[in-house]
Amino acid sequence: MKKTMNNLSGPLNRQMSDTVFVRLCILPVIILLIVINIFPLFYSLILSFTEYSARKAFSPEFIGNANYRDLLTDPTVWVRFVTTAKYVVMSVAGEMILGFSIALLLQEKFRGRGVLQTLLVLPMTMSPVIVGLMWKLFMDPNWGMFNYLLGLGRIDWASNPDINLYAIVIADIWMWTPFVMLLSIAGLSAVPQSLYEAAEIDRASWWFKFTRITLPMVSPLLMIALIFRVMEAFKVFDVPMGISGTGSSAPPLIAMKLYKDTFLTWKTGYGSALGYIVLLIVIAITSIFVKYLNKAKQED
C-alpha cells in the first residue's frame, strides 16, 4: 500500500519536497532582511561605541560608552525627549479621541456613508513628506487657507518655534486619525448586535451601554491602534521635516537630532548611540502596552 502511494506522488517528490520549496520561497526575503535590517542593527550597535564618521576615511575607533555618556548628560537631549513626549501625547490622544468618535458616528446608517468612509481614509494613504509640505502651504502666514478659514490673522505656524510643534501635531492628527478610525470600525462591527439588544432589555442607558459593553469589547483593538501610533509618533520625522525643515527653528524632536547628527554633521558613531537610546525607549513603552493588551485579551 505504502509503495503504491509513493509511486503516485513519486515524480513530484523526487524533484523537490514541499519543505525545500517553502524554504526557497522564503530565502530572498531572509537575505534581504539580513542585509538591510539585521546587519545594520548589529553594525550600528558596534558603531555606537566608537568614534566614527561615515564620510571620512578613518576606521571606527573604540571609545567605550563615551557616546552614551555624552548624550545622557547633554541637557539639550533631554529637552528633545520631553518635546517628543509632548508631541506623542498630544497627537496620539487627538488621533485616538477623534478616530474613535468618527468610527462611532459611522456606526449610524445614513446615505453616502461608504463614500464618506473612503474619503476619510485618504489622508492616511498619502506620503508623510507630502502631507508635511501640504500643511506647510496650507498654514503659510501670507496666503495659506488655514489662518483665513479659522479667522486667526497672520500666524506663522511653520517657522515660529513657539507653536510649530502644534502645527506638526495638527498635521499628524489629520493624517493618522483615519488609522485609528479604521481599527475602531473593525472593533465596533465585531461587537454582536445581540449584546446591545440584551442591554436594551436590561434597560441600560446609552452611556451605560457605551461604557460597559462598547468600550470593553473594543479595547483590545484600540490598544493595538495606540501601540502603533505611539511607536510611530515617537520616531516621527517626515511630517515635521516637510513642515518646518531641519533648521534651527524646527521643533526639537528627537528624530530631528538623530537625522542632523548622523546625516548632516556625519557623527555616525554618536548618531548610532542616540538611535539605540530611542530604540530602547520605544521597546520599553510598547512592551508595557503589549502587556496591557494581553491582559485585556485574557479578560475576554
Partner: protein, 369 residues
C-alpha cells in the same frame, strides 16, 4: 406580573409581512407557547412584545398600559435570547447583576438579589466564571438569572433550549416549568418543537405564514385542530391523512377513499357536518395513530392494507400500514402486538376522534369553537 394584549398587530419588513393581523391575549401568570415552523413570525411577535421591534400597525398593551411605541428599555420585560447573548467580558455575577446596575441599585442589595437567584438556579458556584468557560446548560441558567433577577412584568423566551442536546433539553423543560410556577411571571415562550410546546404551555398559539392559526390548551390544539396545518404540525408521530370524496347513496352521505374506492359509512354526527356544507366534495380524513385499530382483514367498514414497517418504541409499537394505493397509515399498538411485516390486515377508525377537513381550504369541518 401582568397580562399582555396584542390588537390587530402587523409587522412589515419592506415588502415582506412577517406578522399579519395578530390578536393575542396572554393572561397574568400564564405560560403561553408560540409554536410554528421557522419563518412563521413567532420570533417577530416575541420581539414586538419586548419592544426590540416596533409593530407597523396595531396596539400592544402590557399591564393595562399602551406600550406600542415604547422601546424595550421603557417596558419592564425580560428576554432570554436563543443564543443567550450573555456579556462575554463580564463574569456570571456581573451578567446577572447587569439589569440591576443599570437601575443604579445599591451594591449590597444587588449582592443579596444575585445570591438569591444564583441559589434558585443552582449556579452559585460559577459566579466568578466568564460565559466562555460555561457549558450550554449553565449559560442557559445564567441567561434566565439575568431575566429573573429584576422581577419583570413578563418573561419572554426565544427558543432558549433549542441548542442543548436532547437529554438535557428534557431536564431543562421541567426546570423551566417549575421556575415559571415558582416565579409566577407571565411567560411567552417561542419554539418550533411541538413536544416542548405540548409539555410546557398552559396554552399554545400555533402560527404559520405570518398568521395565528389556532390558540388553545395543549389538548385542545391536539384533539380539536382548527385546520390541516395545526393537525399535521402537532403530534408525534403525526396525524394520518386520507383523501376522500363525498358520495350520496340511497339518500345517505358516504365517503369514498380515493385510493381504492372503498366507501365508509359515517355515523350520523359526521354525516350531518358534511351535509351542512353541501358544496364540498373533496374531504381530507385525519386520524391520530392512537385512534386507528388494526382488525382482521375484511372487517366491515374498514380499509385494507398490509403491515409495512414496525417500530418498537418500548412501551408501544408504531406500525405502518400500507394501503392499496401506497398511502401509509401509522397506528399506535400495544407492545404485545403479534403482527409481522407483510401481514394482510384492515383498519378501522374511532369515529368520535376522526377529524374532517375541507381539502381545498384546509379548514376543519368538525371544529368545535
Amino acid at each position: 406580573m401582568a397580562d399582555i394584549v396584542l390588537k390587530n398587530v402587523y409587522k412589515r419588513f419592506g415588502d415582506f409581512t412577517a406578522v399579519k393581523d395578530l390578536n393575542l391575549n396572554v393572561f397574568d401568570k400564564e405560560f403561553l407557547v408560540l409554536l410554528g415552523p421557522s419563518g412563521c413570525g413567532k420570533t417577530t411577535t416575541l420581539r414586538m412584545i419586548s419592544g426590540l421591534e416596533l409593530p407597523s400597525e396595531g396596539q400592544i398593551i402590557l399591564d393595562n398600559e399602551d406600550v406600542t411605541q415604547k422601546r424595550a428599555s421603557r417596558r419592564d420585560i425580560a428576554f432570554v435570547f436563543q443564543l443567550f447573548a450573555l456579556y462575554p467580558h463580564l463574569s456570571v455575577y456581573n451578567n446577572i447583576s447587569f439589569p440591576l446596575k443599570t437601575q443604579g441599585i445599591d451594591k449590597k442589595q444587588i449582592e443579596v438579589e444575585v445570591q438569591k437567584i444564583a441559589k434558585l438556579l443552582q449556579i452559585d458556584h460559577i459566579l466568578k466564571k466568564k460565559p466562555k468557560q460555561l457549558s450550554g446548560g449553565d449559560l442557559q441558567r445564567v441567561a434566565l438569572g439575568r431575566g429573573l433577577i429584576r422581577k419583570p412584568k413578563a418573561m419572554l423566551l426565544d427558543e432558549p433550549i433549542g441548542t442543548l442536546d436532547a437529554k438535557f433539553r428534557e431536564e431543562m423543560r421541567t426546570e423551566l416549568k417549575n421556575l415559571h410556577i415558582d416565579s409566577g411571571s407571565t411567560t411567552v415562550y417561542v419554539t418550533h418543537d411541538q413536544v416542548e410546546a405540548m409539555d410546557m404551555g398552559d396554552r399554545i398559539a400555533v402560527m404559520n405564514h405570518s398568521l395565528l392559526q389556532q390558540i388553545g390548551e395543549p389538548h385542545e390544539v391536539y384533539s380539536n385542530p382548527k385546520n390541516l396545518f395545526v393537525a399535521q404540525f402537532i403530534g408525534s408521530p403525526g396525524m394520518n391523512f386520507l383523501e376522500m370524496e363525498s358520495v350520496t347513496s340511497d339518500g345517505k352521505v358516504l365517503l369514498k377513499f380515493t385510493g381504492d374506492g372503498t366507501t365508509i359509512i359515517l355515523p350520523d354526527f359526521l354525516e350531518e357536518k358534511i351535509n351542512n356544507k353541501k358544496e364540498l366534495s373533496k374531504i381530507t380524513w385525519g386520524v391520530r395513530p392512537e385512534d386507528v385499530e388494526i382488525v382482521p382483514e375484511g372487517t366491515k367498514n374498514s380499509l385494507r392494507g398490509a403491515v409495512f414497517v414496525i417500530e418498537n418504541m418500548g412501551n408501544h409499537k408504531i406500525i405502518d400500514i400500507k394501503l392499496k394505493d401506497g398511502t401509509l397509515i401509522r397506528v399506535r399498538e400495544l407492545p404485545k402486538s403479534k403482527l409481522r411485516i407483510g401481514d394482510n390486515v384492515s383498519i378501522t377508525f374511532d369515529m368520535k376522534m376522526v377529524r374532517l377537513f375541507d381539502t381545498e381550504s384546509g379548514d376543519s369541518i368538525v371544529f368545535q369553537e
